[in-house]
Symmetry: C2
Amino acid sequence: MLHKINLAEKLDLFSDQWSPKIIAELNGQQVKLVKFSGDFVWHSHELEDELFLVVRGRFRMDFRDRSEWVEAGEMIVVPKGVVHKPYADAEVEVMLFEPASTLNTGNTTGYRTVHQPEHI
Amino acid sequence: MLHKINLAEKLDLFSDQWSPKIIAELNGQQVKLVKFSGDFVWHSHELEDELFLVVRGRFRMDFRDRSEWVEAGEMIVVPKGVVHKPYADAEVEVMLFEPASTLNTGNTTGYRTVHQPEHI
């Protein structure tokens, strides 16, 4: 993949929420874009650390004992095993960086689970 | 690392060019920030794919047969084995995502090589 990827152009390609889209792969990791608002499900990932980088808007990462607001131009890394739940008060656009094996709902498979994220 | 990382705040912490700083680690990969202008050295990485995401400014990624300008909000993935050389006409700020083992000059160790990037 030797052509550049424009994040805004990729974000214009979809509007569904809580459904990460793969925009690049490298070293067994995937770069994904996701839009969401409202509350996700509490979950953790047994084996994968996850990086969330806010492209537009803001979201709150809830942990069991505290929360952290993450704004545009900020990122947060959630280590494997740590229970977390993203929440946004308005739609936020986020870049994810995580292993290709990562399931969005981690250990909590349910209606929010996206088993085969689309490549865009 | 459960606290968010603000890219602008991290970028304010250094001014030296061509010297990537580590701002996060996950899954054996590192997230780095680097500032540069002018020409780098031609090199490739035998084992590592590299991702370059422009935070501010722009740079040109030169390949042996073509070039690609990458602007703010855009990224490019350079697969392992592909010879490349970044160039910027004015200082650019770039986020790198690559394995922890990645040496900035790849197969071309020299005066530009940073053997132990600093954590900031």
